[in-house]
């Protein structure tokens, strides 16, 4: 047991302590509550960021905790892949916490909200830094359970219904992962993530079993990653307060799903084994393509802004899964880079949607005509985010599309490239009318004196827009080297 790198455990425990402190504060001690929440999240961010140099230097940080019995135990291991998810979500958690302070100012039960908002950070960090499948599973379920109160925060009938849906899907997915844990443990006797996979040696004679494990794991993590038949909880969960939709349903939870898939692919199965199992990979690819196209079509049909964004998320998550599925360096690069790009861009869009709801109370798309007059900065941020997701040049997002396209060519599967092409067109069809109507249609909105939205909401949003542009312009110095460090461990 070494104490050299206590950061993973800090990242997991500090939010829990923060949540406990918030729990013992009074409902009307807003100032203290905000300070505690921000400092807890800030400490997590610093802890995660301080591990970055070591990870980029290709050193693996290990921290072995409780061992229940032979191979099943809490075990943290930080490698570059986990670092992507950990760093992205802890960074965005800081922004979302600041944003929540502004958004929740007029909501009820703020204490309850912040307790679980901070707690889920600990769960997400646990998912990111898990060193074996068991730990990953524990924190995966933990994440599902402590985000449940956030989803049903409104307390209305509709939200309870959505909450039931959410918890059934999540626990259902978790159960499948749990089942596969024992199958893997039975098969190879270990659950630890290894760079080349652990199932590689066990295939002989138990091919069917490995196949079943694959299906179970993909169905389990695919629920959170919103792969098409299992996606319906995500639009339902949009009844949550907007910061929750922004952070959890565009970044933390859904990315935990795709991250889980990537983990399973590269640390449990290993690339060689998957290349062997190309039949089932192709079947999965068909599902993912279906997700991308149908998700985009469904997004066109939505009339509520947050729902449209939710369906867009479903399609975009498909990109990431597709990239991982390609199993070629460039394709995986595209998928992993899209984790970063999509997180930043989609959270920006949700933040804008939240500001629109806070300031004007409008949720439907047809009520937003001429909004650009009243909230120019918000709509500008929205436009940049939307254009970025479409893959317009100087904003982040085009890099991932470029790598995905070349990756599909590299894999000799140009058909995936055409799926991306079609989906990009559909992205344009559902994003551009929002921008166009807000800026160029006449509406009832008037320019208001003072800032267009609370500054605690506007500033994080605009900062994220800045990030999106920096990551687009200087992709060569920011996102690409980071992801290349991951690729070194896979290929």
């Amino acid at each position: 047991m070494s104490l050299v790198y206590p950061q993973p455990i800090i990242a997991v425990i500090v939010p829990i302590i923060g949540a406990i402190i918030i729990r013992f504060l009074d409902e009307d001690q807003a100032r203290e509550r905000h300070i505690v929440a921000l400092s807890a999240i800030g400490i997590v961010f610093l802890a995660v960021a301080s591990m970055l140099p070591a990870v980029l230097a290709e050193r693996v940080i290990e921290l072995r905790m409780v061992e229940l019995f032979d191979g099943l135990g809490i075990y943290f291991k930080i490698d570059a892949l986990g670092m992507i998810f950990g760093l992205v979500s802890s960074t965005l958690w800081v922004f979302a916490t600041i944003y929540s302070i502004g958004y929740m100012a007029h909501e009820h039960e703020q204490r309850n909200y912040f307790v679980f908002f901070v707690l889920s950070c600990s769960a997400a960090m646990g998912v990111a830094f898990a060193g074996n499948l068991f730990t990953l599973y524990i924190f995966y379920e933990y994440l599902a359970i402590c985000t449940y109160p956030l989803v049903v925060h409104a307390g209305t009938k509709e939200s309870v219904k959505a909450g039931i849906k959410y918890i059934s899907y999540s626990l259902g997915g978790g159960a499948l992962v749990f089942l596969s844990i024992f199958m893997i443990h039975d098969l190879v006797g270990t659950l630890e993530f290894m760079p080349g996979g652990i199932l590689g040696g066990a295939v002989e004679g138990s091919r069917t079993l490995v196949m079943i494990i694959f299906i179970l794991l993909i169905a389990g993590f695919g629920t959170k990653a919103a792969i098409m038949p299992l996606h319906s909880w995500l639009p339902g969960a949009m009844v949550a307060p907007t910061p929750v939709s922004a952070l959890l349903h565009a970044v933390a939870i859904v990315k935990a799903g795709v991250f889980g898939i990537a983990r399973v692919f590269f640390s449990i199965f290993g690339r060689e084994l998957l290349v062997d199992m190309n039949m089932i990979i192709n079947v999965l690819a068909v599902f993912v393509c279906f997700t991308i196209i149908v998700g985009s079509f469904m997004a066109i049909k939505q009339t509520v802004l947050k729902l449209r964004l939710a369906y867009s998320t479903i399609g975009q998550l498909g990109y990431i899964t597709l990239g991982v599925l390609l199993l070629t360096p460039t394709g995986v690069m595209g998928g992993l880079i899209h984790i970063i790009n999509h997180a930043i861009l989609k959270i920006t869009l949700f933040f804008c949607a939240g500001m629109i709801i806070t300031v004007t109370g409008k949720k439907n798309l047809n009520q937003l005509n001429g909004l650009g007059k009243q909230m120019p900065m918000t709509m500008l941020a929205f436009s940049i985010g939307a254009l970025g997701l479409m893959g317009v040049m100087p904003i982040a997002g085009y890099t991932s599309k470029y790598f995905l396209l070349t990756g599909s060519l590299e894999a000799g599967m140009p058909v995936f490239g055409y799926v991306l092409l079609g989906s990009t067109l559909l992205n344009a069809v559902y994003y551009l009318p929002i921008i166009v109507n807000a800026f160029f249609k006449e509406g009832t909105f008037k320019k208001q004196p003072g800032p267009e939205a609370p500054l605690t909401m506007l500033v994080p949003t605009l900062t994220l827009v800045g990030f999106a542009i920096i990551f687009g312009l200087f992709a060569n110095y920011t996102t690409i080297p980071f992801v290349e460090a991951v690729l070194k461990t896979i290929f």
């Binding site: 302590i17 049903v152 996606h231 060519l409 140009p414 344009a428 006449e442």
Partner: protein, 726 residues
């Protein structure tokens, strides 16, 4: 760019400056507005003037050797890379010139429009994007500027923000995005397979690919959308008429040329073999050219036919633009088809691009000037305006005769070259199909003459309808613009040999094609009796069309609405796709949803013991009554001992039966209600009701989740922290 011309190049910042000056100064427009509208107008005029001067000097440079400049941004190994050859420089110069003229025209025209700032910002952005397209050396840089142009010009299309404009704009935007994506995909594929996206001959490498035809198709579709190639033209007749007149002039006169330019680069540069003389490789280019010729023929004839029936002056001009793009496409196709022997076609389409820019931009501006002062755009409500607009009507007549191809005006010269090209193509292989193409070419000429005559006569000639009043004449700046355009039309028309030698010859020369054919091009006799006879025939045919059409009032008839490629193919396609996918998605969603939503219910069933437990329990309890029934059976044997016993037995057995029935009912109800209670309790647990309804409620309900979690987490932290000390 081809062959020998690549040997020596000049490095100069001029191309970079030409593309970036308008883009950067677009940011200055709102600043200049701060000092006053006047200063903003001066700024825009100065910028377009500067671009024109730079373009002129660039042309002079390019006439010596190709010009390159490089500017690194973003994606490390793919910088913005400019390389200008003579073709690009000519496109660039003509665009800068027309843009300058349109700016001068805008000064007066825009006074009756609002939102000047936005207009000028995107006007300049579009200029930068458009010129950038002509100057770049690789497909990625080209795509970059192409997209800037597409997005910026969208703002010009929807400038009036009327319902019609927004609708047209939406189509424009979607198709623009689609086209851009096609180009990008093709560029990435080329880059992936060949390692370069430069606009250089790549046919040797491309021929090895299975996807070569797909790449070509993607590129042609992508550029063809912008060029208004039938059947991808549907946005053009909608989007061009709704923009303000100067913007329409630029859209129709210049911007659609970027599409033609792209197709030309694909067909005559990328898809050509590196060594020009290798005959075997030209076969692929030739096939491509053949397809393009027919697309050109289809475009020119279909659009010219549709133009005959338009009642709106600007829409008529838009259809005319599509038709004229057909000529250009046919020229490009012929150039590719003739391959090494294609100087005639190359010269023809280059000259036609220049000519079309002048007369079409001019006509849009002139129609705009009339509309500005009369408020009328429908042909049926216009007429007899030549007295009110003397300069406009004269120049309009020149432009109309130019587009009709009357000898002595510019359109004639390029049409002669194009006609020679198609005849050459026909003679090269003796293909009878191309003979038909040549006939359609002539027929289209007649239709063009007919619709343009109708446009001119219904605006400027005939009776002036009651209520049509012109507010003032055209001001000096518009007259200057029109006179310049008229002079250019006359100049090219009257001195074709000079233009051919000084402008077209050098452009074609840079392609290093067959010398014999090149000399043949230089020595074309424009006043050849054969061509003049052909032209006379066309005019005669047009006169017949015109007379018959006006007498029978054919032109004012509306074509049925369903008879368009849009409502026949595109709309059903899009709506059926939409239907299939959204309904399919919805079906998947609801079925999986109901499965998951019912899962808690199932869970409760099984937790309670479900039906199995229910039946088991029931049988146990019912079985417990077995001894009782055995007892009653034994008692019933006492039946024979007399009537008193019988009555007693009857009473006992009916009581027992009643008890038994009650017991069974009770058990049944017990299970029904207990199931309900469990289900209610399950949902109740997850009911996040924060309102306080007694202590018990608080403890049981999961809104009190925190308490349980607290206990759990304090334990967890304790355990985790222990690890530090053990």
């Amino acid at each position: 760019m081809n062959g020998a011309a690549t040997e020596n190049v000049i490095t100069s910042g001029l191309p970079l400056a030409i593309a970036m000056v308008p883009i950067l100064s677009a940011a200055l427009v709102p600043l200049a507005r701060w000092f006053g509208d006047r200063y903003r107008n001066i700024l825009v005029l100065a910028v377009t003037g500067l671009v024109l001067v730079l373009s002129l000097s660039l042309l002079r440079l390019v006439w010596q050797a190709d010009v390159i400049s490089q500017f690194s941004v973003g994606f490390g190994d793919l910088p913005l890379y400019f390389r200008v050859d003579r073709l690009g420089a000519v496109f660039n110069l003509i665009s800068a010139l027309i843009w300058f003229l349109a700016t001068v025209f805008s000064l007066s025209y825009m006074t009756h429009e609002s939102r000047h700032n936005r207009y000028y910002v995107f006007y300049l952005l579009t200029l930068g994007g458009c010129l950038g397209v002509f100057l770049t050396a690789d497909l990625f840089s080209l795509f970059f500027f192409f997209e800037i142009m597409s997005f910026a010009s969208y703002l010009l299309v929807i400038h009036t923000q009327s319902e019609e404009a927004m609708k047209a704009g939406r189509l424009y935007l979607y198709l623009g995005v689609f086209g851009g994506l096609c180009i990008l995909t093709a560029a990435i594929m080329i880059y992936w397979f060949t390692g370069t996206v430069e606009l250089t001959p790549l046919l040797e490498q491309l021929l090895l690919l299975p996807a070569k035809t797909l790449i070509a198709a993607l590129l042609i579709i992508g550029f063809g959308i912008k060029a208004g190639m039938v059947p991808l033209h549907i946005w053009l007749p909608k989007a061009h008429p709704v923009a303000p007149a100067p913007a329409s002039a630029l859209l129709s006169g210049i911007m659609i040329k970027t599409g033609a330019y792209g197709i030309a680069r694909v067909a005559t540069v990328i898809y050509t073999p590196e060594a020009s003389e290798t005959a075997g490789l030209w076969a692929y280019t030739q096939q491509m050219g053949y397809v393009l010729i027919w697309f050109g023929i289809l475009t020119m004839s279909a659009a010219a036919f549709l133009a005959l029936f338009q009642g709106n002056a600007k829409r008529l001009l838009a259809y005319s633009s599509v038709s004229q793009m057909g000529y250009i496409l046919m020229g490009i196709g012929a150039a590719a088809y003739l391959g090494f022997e294609g100087p005639m076609a190359l010269g023809g389409f280059t000259l036609h691009v220049v000519n079309h820019a002048f007369f079409k931009a001019g006509m849009f501006m002139m129609v705009g000037a009339v509309y500005f002062r009369t408020g009328e755009i429908e042909l049926s409500r216009l007429g007899g305006l030549w007295r009110d607009f003397p300069v406009t009507s004269v120049v309009f007549l020149l432009a109309a005769m130019g587009i009709a191809g009357i000898p002595g005006l510019n359109g004639y010269t390029s049409k002669v070259l194009l006609h020679h090209a198609i005849v050459e193509a026909y003679e090269l292989h003796g293909s009878y199909a191309l003979y038909i193409a040549e006939r359609i070419f002539m027929l289209t000429g007649a239709m063009t003459t007919c619709y343009i005559a109708r446009l001119f006569s219904s605006i400027f000639l005939g009776e002036k309808p009651a209520g049509l009043k012109a507010k003032g004449k055209e001001p000096w700046n518009e007259r200057v613009v029109f006179v310049v355009i008229g002079a250019a039309i006359l100049f090219i028309g009257t001195s074709p040999f000079l233009v051919l030698k000084e402008l077209i010859g050098p452009v074609v020369q840079s392609f290093s094609l067959d010398d014999y054919r090149f000399n043949y091009l230089l020595n074309v006799n424009f006043w050849d009796s054969h061509d003049l006879q052909g032209m006379a025939g066309v005019v005669a045919l047009a006169a017949v069309f015109f007379v018959v059409g006006t007498r029978k009032e054919l032109f004012t008839r509306k074509l049925p609405g369903w008879l368009s490629i849009e409502s026949l193919v595109y709309q059903p396609l899009v709506s059926s796709l939409m239907f299939i996918y959204t309904r399919g998605g919805r079906a998947v969603e609801t079925s999986v949803d109901s499965a998951y939503l019912n899962s808690p219910r199932l869970l409760t069933y099984y937790c309670v013991g479900g039906n199995i437990l229910e039946n088991a329990a029931e049988s146990v309890i019912v079985g417990s009554l077995k001894p009782l029934s055995a007892f009653s059976y034994r008692v019933s044997s006492l039946e024979n001992h007399g009537p008193a016993f019988r009555t007693l037995l009857a009473i006992i057995s009916s009581t027992l039966q009643a008890v038994y029935r009650f017991w069974i009912n009770f058990i049944g109800l017990f299970f029904v209600y207990s199931k309900k209670i469990f289900i209610t309790a399950f949902y109740f647990l997850f009911d996040m009701d924060y309102s306080f309804r007694g202590r018990f409620f608080k403890i049981v309900n999961t809104s009190n989740f925190e308490y349980y979690l607290l206990v759990f987490f304090i334990l967890l932290i304790f355990i985790l922290l222990l690890q530090f000390f053990i």
